[in-house]
């Protein structure tokens, strides 16, 4: 495969460039729109700052200065909900993943073994969230969890745990047991071996799981819409709330949208290899 036919290369680079354009252009458009004055948006498409429109930072100022408190409140809520559920998902997920990888379970009722249990766990991930709209609404209001950070963290943990278990189990399956064995011989308890030896060795897997949990919780919409009113509203709900009446204020929406996606897209850029490996573990080996 050293020598490619010339039209192979042509096709390859055409596809790469066209698809990159399709992916990147909307981001460019968001950025430029956030810098346009309203008239530059309304008077048909303007493409290049300084060439066919004069950029302004007034929308960003509005977002972070005049409206700064509101913007930051929602941003903070997103950070709390996403990090909280990430911590729990990683903890619970790695424990269960380790258990399923290292021990042999034989449940009596239902009569399941490791693979059945793992399958049951991952299958929970695919239940439509709409199924829980009514029960969550009722349970949450009975427990006073509506519009609290704890409420969101609990709900997101439930959605993240299955995937976390699945990835971590796969990771531990491929992790040799020698080191923990020798630690055990040296007198470490099972828990010490897990915390001091196994977890540090599993950093790549843990990072994968953490990213997935964080991104899922950061982006989630239905539960945030249903379970928050004021104190805990996250960014997606805040953005969706700009609909209709502000639907025409594209400059403002663009700045807000960029603000909301920047953290996760940055995570994507910096930690790309963990994400790809996690995705592949999830899909290919699943």
């Amino acid at each position: 495969m050293k020598h490619r036919k010339w039209w192979h290369s042509l096709l390859l680079y055409t596809v790469v460039i066209v698809w990159s354009f399709i992916v990147l252009f909307p981001f460019y458009w968001l950025l430029t729109t956030s810098l346009k004055k309203p008239l530059a948006v309304a008077r048909g498409p303007r493409y290049i700052p300084f060439v066919d429109f004069n950029p302004t930072t007034e929308h960003w100022q509005y977002l972070f200065d005049e409206q700064g408190e509101t913007t930051l409140r929602h941003f903070r809520n997103s950070v709390i909900a996403a990090s909280g559920s990430t911590v729990f998902s990683v903890l619970i997920g790695s424990m269960a993943g380790y258990g399923l990888s290292r021990f042999r379970y034989r449940w009596k009722f239902p009569p399941w073994r490791n693979n059945d249990i793992a399958f049951w766990i991952i299958s929970q991930r695919f239940l439509p969230p709409a199924l829980f709209v009514v029960p969550f609404l009722m349970i949450y209001s009975a427990l006073g969890l509506v519009d609290t950070h704890a409420g969101l963290i609990i709900a997101y943990t439930m959605f993240n745990v299955p995937f976390a278990v699945w990835i971590m189990r796969d990771f531990f399956d491929n992790l040799p047991t020698d080191l923990e064995d020798s630690a055990r011989v040296d007198g470490a308890t099972r828990w010490q071996a897990f915390v001091r030896i196994v977890l540090p060795l599993s950093a790549p897997g843990l990072v994968s799981v953490a990213i997935f949990s964080f991104v899922f919780s950061w982006n989630e919409f239905l539960y945030a819409l249903m379970l928050t009113n004021f104190d805990a509203i996250t960014l997606p709900v805040f953005i969706a709330g700009q609909n209709n009446t502000r639907g025409v204020q594209w400059w403002y929406i663009s700045a807000l949208t960029l603000t909301a996606v920047a953290p996760v897209v940055l995570i994507g850029l910096l930690l790309e290899r963990f994400i790809t490996s996690g995705l592949i573990a999830g899909a290919v080996k699943g």
């Binding site: 258990g99 709209v133 064995d181 953005i239 909301a260 996760v264 592949i280």
Partner: protein, 334 residues
């Protein structure tokens, strides 16, 4: 799903049966199981129960009129003490809005996975060769996937606007250049027959890269010597694709289609932002209808009943694919 072929090294085999291990074994798994039992299984059955009642907003003081006309005072805790009824399920066949939402949801799933799989596979095929900038392209591919769908939807709405978007201008320019009598005008989000497609397009923009990345990983796992052997036998590129690459990738394909399909069943955010379910009821999904029924109408019983319809659709879809995967796996994994 496919079971992993490598047998895990159970420690238990060696350090079997110590008391500590017997305890720790449960300690490790219990939190996850407890979370799922409490937050998934329990609500699931509760919801099933509610779907057979007519619990509604303000339930504490609700009354139910039974079929013979007597009024029953209900004072159930969270719907538990309510009157059992089949009314919710009986109402379904006549609820046009429900049928439309179900049809729309199925359309999103089928059209979505088809488009995303075909384009994703094609892209993976093209990218499955060494070239400069390959790592960068992987990063670029990840960007849409990381975005919250709400943001993707706004971006889509801006792209598909019929007056201020570059796409609209492009269409105008094309029709102008071609000298068309009626300028090309696509009512992306305002026409009931176009809008569902536009929503699928917006979802696809976000998720085609997912398909590509996974399928690409699958292709890279195929040993090079299989290809070499085929080439020695004089197979054309098309034959290699049809006889080797595609069949080997079938199990992975089924998995990604299953994952995407199940995800699309949940669609609501993109629709809320782009069309709000309209025009007419052309784009409303089941999840959105459930949300409206529960939160706007406060009709919890009916919302729970519809969510079970959604669950049944999801189970049918998943069963078909799991069966397909089981059927496809043995032939290729040996």
């Amino acid at each position: 799903m496919q079971q992993s072929n490598a047998q895990p090294a159970y420690i238990e085999k060696t350090g079997n049966g110590t008391r500590e291990d017997r305890v720790m074994k449960q300690v490790f798994l219990t939190p996850a199981v407890a979370v799922l039992l409490l937050l998934s299984i329990f609500p699931l059955f509760w919801s099933l129960g509610i779907s057979f009642t007519d619990v509604q907003r303000g339930s504490a003081a609700a009354t139910t009129t039974t079929d013979d006309g007597t009024v029953v005072e209900d004072s159930g805790f969270l719907g538990l003490g309510f009157h059992a009824t089949l009314r919710n399920y009986a109402r379904m066949p006549e609820d046009e809005r429900l049928l439309t939402a179900a049809r729309n949801t199925l359309f999103y799933v089928l059209a979505g996975v088809t488009i995303q799989y075909i384009i994703g596979f094609g892209l993976a095929l093209v990218l499955h060769q060494p070239f400069r900038g390959r790592n960068i392209i992987r990063v670029i591919f990840l960007m849409p996937m990381m975005m919250t769908p709400v943001a993707v939807a706004y971006t889509g709405r801006m792209m598909f606007d019929t007056s201020i978007a570059p796409l609209a201008q492009l269409l105008r320019t094309i029709s102008h250049t071609l000298g068309l009598e009626r300028p090309l005008f696509i009512p992306w989000l305002t026409d009931g027959s176009v809008a569902p497609w536009t929503i699928v397009l917006i979802d696809s923009w976000q998720w085609i890269p997912f398909m590509t990345l996974i399928l690409l990983a699958g292709m890279q796992a195929i040993p090079e010597d299989i290809y070499e052997a085929a080439r020695v036998d004089g197979a054309s590129s098309w034959q290699i694709l049809r006889k080797i690459t595609f069949p080997i990738l079938l199990p992975i394909s089924a998995t990604v289609i299953l994952i995407r399909g199940l995800e699309i069943f949940k669609i609501i955010d993109v629709i809320v932002v782009t069309t709000g379910g309209g025009p007419g009821s052309a784009t409303e999904s089941l999840t959105m209808y459930i949300f409206k029924t529960a939160l706007t109408f406060g009709n919890y019983g009916y919302a729970a009943a519809i969510s079970y319809i959604l669950l049944i659709l999801v189970i049918i879809f998943a069963t078909i694919f799991l069966a397909a995967m089981r059927y496809l796996t043995p032939r290729t994994s040996g």
